[in-house]
């Protein structure tokens, strides 16, 4: 018995050692360029490689540290691009991929204390105003002008889509876009195309089943499929709701996704006076906002039980698990939901469209006075406190090369350059994701990023509780927004805005 124990112990220890010593799985290599282009461009990669090696030589062995949110595009840049960059330049990349909260909390403390822990940080479009208001970021365009020897021949700010405008101030550019996506309306194309379901819907509601273009249709579809799931003993509900009652994602869904479709923009805050309540010129507790919030709360009855525990990630997982017939889902998830058989049971059955809107919202969006949904994304920036600015400058250019964009877009459904839309790989994937990229290209201008609030995280933190309480059924929509607008004004006043 004693001998057997020793043998067993030896085997366990040996297997642990072997596991620990095993080489990590190599990340997916980027697809080779098309054969017909290969001949013409044969010389270019070699030239590029030598440029990176030459430019990186003075910093070889240096380690740059960065932080980003754990999203598919960030993970790709950490696992694939980071390794490619190290091979090309000799500069090591230590990349912390973390939760959304920490992605903001850690760098802002680093920059406030000027400790210089991070050499590059993910700047969510929402956060850029907070960073710029405190001069926390390095002007990348100015740094490039200062160091022409570090200017990559394959990097050009002009190649980016208009999303880069979010990171400009006073002629300077403070971030290199690394991801951008719209938050579209996803629906189950297979269910919507089923003749029996179509007939039943037509009979019940008197019009054809199609992706919702207004809120009444959305409600009808949600009600219909919830009943359909119950009648057929299916784990299927009418809609997703990003309604975690203790997470900021719920407030974001309300102010950035739902309310704009009711014509309430910029969170209902008057950006001239920094007021939120109707009596002071704001719109956060306007009738339109209350109607929008009530609509969203009403959707909870047609959403799966996990809705009040769902953040952005869980909403995508719910849709991928085939538990919802429609919903607002962040675009970064659209590609994997539609194509990844390991994580999704609805591949090939995902439809993509613009979200349903109230009357007048499309006109507002077309004129620039409003928007129909959220244009999400972020960039890599260099903190002013970085101790390796030059090495970080090479890194942000490396991820901003045209040549790395297509594979990155395929892995993370993000597009930041106009040319990526025309890449054969993306054109091919676009068909599998029901035209998500085409929608992003064509309807992109109708979507917009977060309101330009330098204090948006603090403000959101002060109104979260009202939204969560309403989602938990403790208060109604009107009471919640009346309380939220007062809290918002108090917060802004305390921060020195709106006096």
């Amino acid at each position: 018995m004693f001998r057997w124990n020793r043998v067993l112990g030896f085997v366990i220890v040996l297997s642990m050692l072997l596991t620990a010593c095993a080489a990590p799985a190599a990340p997916a290599a980027p697809a080779a360029p098309a054969a017909e282009e290969a001949a013409a461009e044969e010389a270019a990669p070699a030239e590029a490689e030598s440029w990176w090696a030459e430019a990186g030589a003075p910093y070889a062995g240096v380690t740059i540290r960065g932080i980003s949110e754990s999203t598919p595009p960030s993970r790709y840049s950490a696992e694939v691009l980071g390794q490619m960059f190290t091979e090309a330049t000799g500069i090591n990349v230590e990349f912390e991929v973390t939760s959304w909260d920490e992605m903001y909390n850690k760098p802002i403390r680093d920059m406030e204390a000027n400790t210089g822990i991070y050499d590059f940080v993910y700047i969510e479009q929402d956060h850029i105003y907070s960073y710029l208001s405190r001069d926390f970021l390095t002007d990348i365009s100015a740094l490039l002008a200062e160091h022409p020897e570090l200017q990559s021949p394959d990097f050009d700010f002009g190649k980016f889509t208009s999303f880069i405008d979010n990171f400009k101030q006073d002629g300077g550019i403070y971030g290199v876009p690394m991801e951008a996506f719209i938050k579209p309306y996803l629906y189950r194309a297979d269910l919507f195309a089923d003749p029996d379901i179509q007939a039943a819907f037509q009979e019940q509601y008197g019009y054809e089943l199609a992706p919702a273009t207004n809120h009444d249709q959305y409600r009808d579809i949600a009600e219909f499929f919830t009943a359909y799931g119950e009648e057929n003993d299916l784990e299927l509900w009418g809609t997703t709701v990003q309604g975690h009652t203790g997470h900021p994602s719920a407030t974001y869904e309300l102010v950035e996704t739902i309310l704009p479709t009711f014509g309430v923009y910029n969170w209902g805050i008057n950006l001239d006076t920094w007021k939120a309540c109707v009596e002071n010129g704001g719109e956060m507790n306007s009738d339109k906002a209350k109607e929008g919030f009530a609509f969203w709360l009403d959707m909870l009855q047609y959403a799966p039980p996990e809705a009040t525990s769902s953040t952005w990630d869980e909403v995508a997982a719910t849709f991928a698990a085939g538990r919802a017939a429609q919903g607002w889902v962040y675009g970064e998830n659209a590609a994997w939901i539609a194509t990844d058989a390991d994580r999704s049971v609805v591949i090939g059955n995902v439809g993509v469209a613009n979200p349903p809107v109230a009357e007048g919202v499309i006109a507002d969006a077309e004129s620039g006075a409003g928007y129909i949904g959220y244009y999400d994304g972020g960039a890599f920036g260099i903190p002013y406190s970085s101790k390796n600015k030059e090495a970080a400058l090479l890194w942000v250019q490396f991820i901003g090369q045209e040549s790395v964009q297509a594979d990155w877009a395929a892995a993370g459904a993000r597009i930041v350059m106009e040319s990526t839309f025309d890449d054969p790989l993306i054109v091919e994937i676009d068909q599998k994701v029901s035209g998500y990229y085409t929608l992003m290209r064509e309807a992109g201008p109708l979507y917009r990023g977060a309101a330009p609030l330098p204090f948006h995280n603090t403000l959101r933190g002060n109104i979260d509780t009202f939204i969560w309480q309403a989602l938990a059924g403790e208060i109604d929509a009107a009471t919640a927004l009346d309380g939220a607008c007062v809290a918002a004004e108090e917060t802004m006043l305390q921060l020195g805005y709106g006096e």
């Binding site: 405190r134 039980p305 525990s309 938990a472």
Partner: protein, 291 residues
């Protein structure tokens, strides 16, 4: 004189580390508590505000709510863990088949990091996917949803804490019980005392130092619970599980209100000290009365 100097010399590294790691941050927080300092304010700079942050506390419903919830949570979990832990220790002090196995299994939760405990309980209780809502609905028809019902979420945080920390109480009590002299108990039994009388008049008074120490440790831990609960509920639904630790985290990290966050931290620290002191007096009084 020489040995005195040598003593201080040997103590010096510890005192220096204690000063840097303990006292310096404490005084820093104390100073920041007197400033209005929010990193995203229009100025972004700390502004002297005197005792204003402390005055704000008194009228802040978020703080008062978080404090009262924390007290309710703390009292419930500490009492439950003490009673359960003592009973289990009494059982484990005796010999029975499988005792070692049970003791090992019982101690397993202690080895799990709080963040992992929160994540595991979340997986078990998340509505729609979790095993707990599934079987509660199937067997008892209970619509258990910690994302929607405040009382479900609060009760689950208590259950989770009791599951996680009762083994700690059991082990400390077991150590105490094993160390008790057997003679007084045997004498009492010979003199005709029943088991309840032995427990009340001998075991409990002799165990009082262990009980006091365990109570203090668990009390202080429960008052500053954050990670487990944050992972499980995020402090929701609404603010129903936003205990004071999570509230401080939100004030400092989310609201970036460093001055007010420091003031809240200091008051909670002071409150914990006073509570422990009062408890110490109460428990030692009870101990004396029993003697």
């Amino acid at each position: 004189m020489r040995s005195n100097r040598m003593g201080w010399g040997l103590l010096a590294p510890t005192l220096i580390i204690l000063g840097i790691m303990g006292l310096l941050p404490f005084f820093y927080v104390l100073v920041v508590g007197f400033f209005d300092w929010n990193v995203v304010s229009a100025t972004g700079k700390p502004i002297w505000t005197g005792a204003n942050n402390f005055r704000r506390l008194v009228f802040d419903p978020n703080f008062l709510g978080a404090m009262s919830r924390t007290l309710l949570f703390t009292v419930t979990v500490v009492v439950s863990e003490l009673v359960l832990g003592f009973v289990l220790a009494q059982a484990l002090v005796k010999e029975f088949p499988g005792k070692s196995f049970f003791r090992t299994i019982h101690a397993l939760p202690l080895m799990v990091a709080p963040i992992a405990v929160g994540a595991t309980w979340r997986l078990m209780t998340v509505p729609g996917f979790g095993i707990a809502p599934y079987y509660l609905d199937r067997w008892f028809g209970i619509d258990y949803n910690i994302g929607r019902y405040a009382e479900h979420a609060f009760a689950t945080t208590i259950l989770m804490d009791v599951w996680h920390w009762t083994p700690f109480v059991t082990l400390t009590m077991l150590a105490g019980l094993s160390a008790l002299p057997k003679e007084p108990m045997e004498q009492a039994l010979v003199d005709g005392a029943n088991r309840w009388q032995v427990l009340r008049h001998l075991t409990l008074p002799m165990m009082m130092p262990v009980i006091i120490t365990t109570t203090f440790i668990r009390l202080m831990d429960a008052l500053r619970v954050v990670d487990e609960v944050y992972l499980l509920t995020g402090g929701g639904p609404g603010d129903s599980t936003r205990f004071i630790g999570i509230h401080i985290w939100r004030v400092v990290m989310t609201w970036t209100d460093y001055g007010y966050g420091s003031a809240v931290s200091l008051l909670v620290y002071y409150f914990t000290l006073v509570l422990c002191w009062l408890l110490f007096i109460a428990l030692t009084q009870i101990g004396r009365q029993q003697e």
